[in-house]
Amino acid sequence: MTTDVQAAYQIDDTGIDLDNKTLLEMYWQMVRARRTDERTWVLHRQGKIAFHISGIGHEAIQVGAAYALRRGYDYSHLYYRDLAFAFALGYTPRDFLLAVFGKAGEPTSGSRQMPSHFSSRALGMLSASSPVATQVPQAAGAALACKMRGEDRVVVTALGEGSTSEGDFFEGMNWAGVHKLPMICLVENNIYAISVPMHLQMAVPNVADRAPMFGVTGAVVDGNDVLASFRVMSEAVARARNGEGATLLEAKTYRPVPHSSDDDDRTYRSRDEVEEWKQRDPIKRFQDYLLERGILNDTAIEEIEARVRQEVDEAQATALDAPYPPAEDALFPVFAPDGTDR
């Protein structure tokens, strides 16, 4: 089953009734994340920034999942690879490049926290941490809060397959099952955790195979197919909103670039394997689908690329020009002033 979903190139649009405008917007979001990400690699190679952790190759599942949410209403606990997810929720290339350069005015943290640790009260993005999987218990807590308040909000949290080896994942998922929480745990399974292959993390073929032990629904989707991802996530969101509990949703995907700017992936996987996966690039697959149906043509592709290039150029210029955070920013807001909260 696993290899079947991975091998298919065709986009599976069964049951999808998105209008062309939305389809093009999703395509644009994927391209926008890809180009921003590529630019950030270049900035790192030029020695202009300290570090980059990339979401390249993961755009389909992330954009598909985000579009299945009520954006701005539902909560998310994302992880470092979720640049396209964050963009689709309202985060922008400008925001990201301000973070990457560590400049003043960076909206998620004022450059107190690393880039790719997405957080925005306005966008419903809760905390993100560097220690992996710590978001799963927190997502369970946020989902519990939604349920206790009787809201129909759902909570999505994302992590990699390697991170599911943490106790935090098991304990958080157990809660989600016990309390029947409105939660989706999205596992972006790219087969590797840095150098360590999936079979050294778990003895089951699919992360989602563990769903029954938590008493939640399990689902596996081709994470390089944006429409299949949208559909399966929509089903999970509907279950969560209808009080049918949590879903452990596994998206099969691949990371065609090194883990981070500190990694050399040639030490642990063959170039052939990487090339093979590049043939299943999520953006190319969606582009072909849209071209075949006449929703997209070469001119429109160029227009989208030009629009994205301009946005990324402007974002970079803004970030370069921005001042560094003022020194006093280091000192607050450690505590709420006078013991009060907003």
């Binding site: 640790h117 943490e166 840095i194 360590v196």
Partner: protein, 326 residues
């Protein structure tokens, strides 16, 4: 045998390699230790040399890495467990604090826990608050395990070999920004340093600087600057936070009558608190000035380059502290 200048990374590698050849009960487990050769390339080549049985890439499960090391040690092996960075020790705290440190005492010495928990600490690389901790004092808080904080290649090698051979559990903390530092190290299997001995890294009569690891580097730099103003600092490297050896500090203080404690950890309840308290108890009659402490600012470490630098200690801050007590 002759001393040869090697890096801290090479010193750690050779200590591990020699001890693995010496004792087949010693094995390594942790995230990225095998195929990748270790987060900081300390175990590069080990998988080929010792095989997957003794060099084990583990799942991303710090609680199990630490907990399984406790169990394997109780069952007769001598595990060297590795946490990629000390930041991830927080998800393994129960295994470390309640078991690694306490099993021997709680069960009346029936079990020893001859394990080493290797990890790296430290900020200054723009990795943000959850990824830049220097929390060594937390681990020194608990009786039952040793805490090693080497600051040179010489110490790293001799201390790691001692840690592996000792029957007590050792938290062995390396500094993530110092692995390329080079120093002469004796060659040969027999170079082992004593556990719990601090070391005078620079002699001086005017002020005693007590420090370790990254603080050592900053302090030696500050000492050179101070010397230009005619102030000679004696720099004492603790090397171990437990057992804590303050005898050389007391001896030094008798002649300098002034002390500055330098560390990268946070300022409350830290090494400086302990050293100041013990000086006040033991050396009250010799005190000419309050004991000054230089540590990180009392905030989660920020990411942006400029404010991160500001929040960390520096040679300038050490110089200022010394000038306050002189």
């Amino acid at each position: 045998m002759a001393d040869r200048p090697i890096t801290i990374r090479e010193a750690l590698s050779s200590a591990l390699r020699e001890e693995m050849h010496r004792d087949e009960r010693v094995f390594i487990m942790g995230e990225e230790v095998g195929v990748w050769g270790g987060t900081y390339a300390v175990t590069r080549g080990f998988l080929d040399e010792f095989g997957a049985k003794r060099v084990r890439d583990t799942p991303i499960s710090e609680m199990v890495i630490a907990g399984a090391a406790v169990g394997a040690a109780m069952a007769g092996l001598r595990p060297i467990a590795e946490l990629m960075t000390i930041n991830f020790a927080f998800v393994a705290m129960d295994a470390i604090v309640n078991h690694m440190a306490k099993v021997r005492y709680m069960f009346n010495g029936q079990f020893t826990v001859p394990m080493v928990l290797r990890t790296t600490s430290g900020g200054g690389k723009q990795l943000g608050a959850t990824h830049s901790h220097a929390p060594e004092p937390i681990f020194a808080h608990f009786p039952g395990m040793y805490v090693a904080v080497p600051g040179t290649a010489y110490d790293a090698k001799g201390m790691l070999k001692a840690a592996i051979r000792d029957d007590n559990p050792v938290m062995f903390i390396e500094h993530s920004t110092m692995l390329q530092r080079r120093a002469p190290v004796p060659e040969g299997d027999d170079f082992v340093l004593p556990i719990g001995k601090s070391d005078i890294k620079r002699a001086g009569d005017d002020v005693t600087i007590v420090t370790y690891q990254k603080g050592l580097e900053w302090s030696l730099e500050a000492a050179e600057e101070l010397a230009k103003d005619g102030i000679e600092a004696e720099v004492i490297d603790l090397r171990w936070l437990r057992p804590l050896d303050l005898e050389p500090v007391f001896e030094s203080f008798k002649k300098t009558n002034r002390c500055v404690v330098v560390e990268e950890s946070l300022p409350m309840f830290n090494v400086g608190s302990e050293v100041a308290a013990q000086l006040q108890n033991e050396m009250f009659d010799y005190m000419d000035a309050p004991v000054k402490r230089v540590a990180a600012m009392d905030v989660p470490l920020p990411y942006a380059d400029n404010i991160e630098k500001m929040a960390l200690p520096s040679p300038e801050k050490i110089i200022a502290a010394v000038k306050e007590v002189i």
